[in-house]
């Protein structure tokens, strides 16, 4: 039976390209799955895999998610209770943290220890937002990175953000990039992973990471 992948729609940005990237990655990798963009908690509750995208500000995104009746509960049920594979993208990844510190203090899900703080490059000539393509420095192997060349000569991921998740538990930070200081790029624990970069905008690296996620059996 085809596995269902729910991409949660809570009014944060365009999910069309995310949907198309997941469909393309599934097709290219031969993964048998159906991709749903949904704002229905029931669909999320029953999904085999859950994806939480997000663009904009942390507090806005959290408010948007909580504005969908039953969605936080459905997410918790699918990811924490049922242990289904979860992928957070950009602010969707940041929401996994304990707290966000953009426009005041906002609680996150508390799935990954740490706060979402402003990027402060040691070199003041560097621009914020951190916008563009950079490679990944991998601290420990992870299934979603399988077969993806990393390091200075590796493939590039597309970043666009001014805040990042500073993990309190180093073991939960799987990969960083460098912007006059380490910037968290990928976090993970148990059945959940989150990317600060946009896999749906990261060409080859992105499609491979999505394909890996669709095959991931944590």
């Amino acid at each position: 039976m085809s596995a269902s992948v729910a991409i949660i729609d809570y009014g944060s940005g365009n999910l069309h390209s995310a949907e198309k990237a997941f469909a393309r990655a599934a097709r290219d990798s031969g993964a048998d799955c159906s991709i749903f963009v949904t704002s229905d908690p029931e669909v999320v509750r029953k999904a085999d895999r859950v994806v939480l995208p997000g663009v904009g500000a942390f507090a806005d995104c959290r408010a948007g998610l909580h504005a969908v009746a039953g969605m936080p509960e459905a997410l918790n049920e699918a990811v924490i209770e049922a242990g289904r594979p979860f992928l957070g993208i950009c602010v969707g990844m940041q929401l996994m943290a304990d707290r966000g510190l953009e426009y005041g203090e906002t609680p996150g899900f508390g799935w990954i220890g740490g706060d979402v703080v402003r990027i402060e490059p040691a070199d003041p000539a560097l621009k914020v937002p951190h916008m563009g393509w950079n490679t990944l420095d991998v601290a420990r192997p992870h299934a979603v990175l399988q077969g993806i060349p990393t390091g200075p000569d590796g493939l590039h991921a597309y970043f666009v953000h001014s805040y990042h998740l500073k993990t309190s538990d180093k073991a939960q930070c799987v990969a960083t990039t460098d912007y006059a200081g380490a910037v968290t790029a990928l976090v993970a624990r148990d059945n959940m992973a989150g990317t600060q970069f946009h896999p749906e905008k990261s060409q080859t690296l992105g499609l491979r990471l999505i394909a890996n996620f669709l095959r991931w059996t944590p």
Binding site: M131, W133, N134, S202
Partner: protein, 283 residues
């Protein structure tokens, strides 16, 4: 020590120390009118050189770092065609897409983002109403709000350089100082500036480096240099001397004067950090 973001000698000196670097972006820009590419794209064997989606796919495959569509459709009623182009591009190209031209309201931005644009560029509407930038950034996040600045030098030879904002494709002088304006829109929430020199646009004489540098050094957000690219050295100069984070060009790519890989390899050879995924073999 770390490599300098603007490359050049500093970058070369520290090349060995380079670990991971944010890369300089090369952005081809397509002028779209009534859903068709103006003048056509001649750099590859496209079945339909006038189809923006085909051109976008070709640029994607060539290693462009982002794409930019500038809609020059005269009538606001024909926006549906552009939206269809944006949607079909977003379905086929998994890279960032900026769309600009005629964006006047929060609804215009929402419609473009929903169609599949990642960033929306605002020009005249921001000049007319600065608060529009703030409203847009609050609604959609700074990361997707690009303010396009068309600037023209108004000081004479020998005078301290001064540039003013022009609207209506460079026909209308506003009296607004370009550097002050850049600072203001960034303080209101512009996440990026697309800076075009109206003196250089279409001349192939290179970017206005003094202008680019004056703006890039005045703001905290990335600046895309535009207007005047004729050679690959011009691209290098825009970043190394103008301090731009990205370079935008149209005709040198569309007319096949240079390919995207040629441009990126040339910039890499000049010491700039470039993303060469999949195009290194062309060296």
């Amino acid at each position: 020590m770390r490599p300098h973001p603007h490359g050049g000698e500093d970058a070369k000196k520290h090349e060995k120390a380079a670990v991971l670097m944010l890369k300089t972006r090369v952005i081809p820009c397509l002028d779209v009118k009534d859903g068709r590419v103006v003048k056509g794209v001649q750099f590859v064997d496209l079945i339909d050189a006038g189809d923006p989606v085909e051109a976008a796919i070709a640029y994607d495959a060539a290693g462009a770092d982002e794409l930019c569509f500038l809609d020059i459709t005269a009538s606001h009623e024909d926006r549906g065609i552009l939206l269809d182009v944006v949607t079909r591009t977003a379905e086929a190209c998994f890279m960032p897409l900026t769309v600009g031209g005629g964006v006047r309201s929060v609804d215009d931005i929402r419609t473009l983002l929903t169609a599949g644009a990642d960033k929306v560029s605002i020009n005249t509407a921001a000049v007319n109403d600065r608060r529009f930038v703030a409203r847009a950034a609050e609604k959609f996040g700074e990361q997707c709000i690009v303010v396009a600045i068309d600037a023209k030098r108004v000081s004479g030879e020998g005078e301290p350089p001064r540039w003013e904002i022009f609207t209506h494709g460079g026909r209308k002088l506003t009296g607004i100082d370009a550097v002050d304006y850049a600072r203001e829109v960034v303080s209101l929430g512009a996440g990026e500036l697309l800076l075009t020199s109206m003196d250089r646009d279409g001349t192939k004489a290179g970017f206005d480096i003094m202008l680019t540098r004056a703006i890039a050094d005045a703001v905290s957000v990335p600046v895309i240099a535009s207007g005047g690219v004729g050679t690959l050295d011009h691209l290098v100069e825009g970043v190394r001397d103008g301090h731009a984070s990205a370079v935008l060009a149209a005709s040198i790519f569309h007319f096949g004067t240079y390919t995207i890989p040629q441009a990126k390899l040339h910039m890499a050879a000049a010491g700039l950090p470039m993303r060469l995924d999949g195009i290194g073999d062309a060296a």
